[in-house]
């Protein structure tokens, strides 16, 4: 089998995650989908590192994880505080961007 399949898988996962981001309204779920996309990327990186035979890909994936962790922390904090104020976790309720 060709390890490129991993890449295809990554693409599919990424796409699915993107679809989730676009479709779901619950902030938490949207956020999970973002994580899914990140993971897809990571998979791609890892695969690449295997294909190229050097570890840089893994390093990047590693950094991605770290950043993802930080991002999750902040993101969830935001969600919580938003929920506190508006008693809802729906992204559409925060539609003040147009002002």
């Amino acid at each position: 089998m060709n390890p490129v399949n991993y890449l295809y898988l990554a693409a599919v996962l990424f796409t699915i995650g993107a679809a989730g981001v676009l479709i779901r309204r619950n902030a938490i779920v949207v956020f999970m989908c973002v994580e899914l996309m990140l993971n897809a990327c990571n998979l791609a990186f890892v695969t690449f590192s295997r294909l190229h035979g050097n570890l840089d890909g893994q390093i990047i994936a590693f950094f991605t994880m770290v950043v993802a962790a930080a991002e999750v922390v902040i993101g969830l904090a935001i969600i919580v505080s938003v929920f506190r104020t508006r008693h809802s976790a729906s992204v559409d309720d925060a539609s003040l961007l147009k002002l």
């Binding site: 295809y8 699915i16 779920v29 890892v46 570890l55 770290v66 930080a70 922390v73 935001i78 976790a89």
Partner: protein
């Protein structure tokens, strides 16, 4: 498996493993997107991540594989679950779309994007590849470490700073400064009076001799359950045990028996005794 990853080839085993787990991963991803309840989404995502961890391992990224399980599945996803609980898993948010055309557009974009992505990968045409043989020769972790502390040391430091900042940020965001003294019992009572509803404290849940639980709504005089008497979270989760039906039946039965008792009391002894006996059966 590790040997395979090191080599420039792949084996049947890996293929089988790939196809099986890939299916699982995709299903998990779909579930994440499609599940009505956030909890289920979180769990299926966790599943997908574990599968990915396996794939990492299969690709010779042992360190990452472990980290994936520990950090992602172990920490991040749990954090998600906590938040889900904290936020209160209100009834699964309806998947009904509110923005006009959003779903159609999203579908189109996603479809096009996916196709293009796959097309791109396809015409990248990666046939043969050199495995991680000598890269991992000194051990995967050591290899990573070497890179992290030499080539990527600045990035590494910066991510460290990022994490600290994130931690502080999270605290700042979630920690709520009380603007004024919390309302005491007296104020709350007065507020209730002012609003004029629920002047008395909220009614207790229905507690009966047989079962004694907070998930059973109390019954109104006509026997219908009162939503007020149970915790809203339970209500939201639909975890209310409604006992109004059987309660009404019992009531009916009780009345019938009492009625028979009355009539039986009018006749001669034997009848009444027999009536009583039947009634007892």
């Amino acid at each position: 498996m590790s040997a395979l990853a090191a080599a420039g080839t792949t084996s049947i085993g890996e293929a089988v493993q790939f196809w099986l787990l890939a299916t699982v991963a995709v299903l998990g991803a779909l579930a994440t997107v499609l599940m009505k309840k956030a909890v289920h989404s979180a769990l299926s995502l966790a599943g997908t991540m574990i599968v990915l961890a396996v794939f990492y391992l299969a690709n010779g990224a042992y360190f990452l594989g472990i980290v994936q399980i520990v950090v992602y599945t172990g920490a991040i996803m749990m954090l998600f679950l906590f938040v889900v609980m904290l936020v209160g898993v209100t009834a699964a948010d309806s998947l009904k779309e509110t923005i006009r055309g959003q779903r159609l557009l999203a579908g189109l974009c996603v479809l096009g994007f996916g196709i293009l992505l796959i097309a791109g990968i396809a015409n990248a045409a990666l046939k043969d590849f050199d495995g991680l043989g000598q890269a991992n020769s000194g051990g995967n972790v050591q290899g990573l470490a070497a890179l992290v502390f030499t080539k990527y040391v600045f990035a590494f430091e910066i991510t460290g700073a990022l994490l600290i900042t994130a931690a502080v940020g999270a605290m700042v965001l979630t920690h709520r400064e009380r603007a004024q003294r919390p309302a005491g019992q007296r104020e709350r009572a007065e507020a209730r009076i002012r609003e004029g509803k629920h002047v008395p404290p909220l009614p207790a849940p229905g507690v009966y001799a047989r079962h004694n639980a907070v998930d059973i709504p109390g019954l109104l005089p006509d026997g219908t359950p009162s939503e007020l008497t149970v915790n809203p979270t339970l209500r939201a989760r639909g975890q209310i045990r409604d006992v109004s039906g059987e309660a009404l039946q019992e009531l009916a039965a009780l009345e019938q028996r009492s009625a028979e008792w009355v009539t039986g009391g009018r006749g001669e002894d034997g009848r009444s005794a027999s009536g009583a006996k039947e009634a007892r059966k």
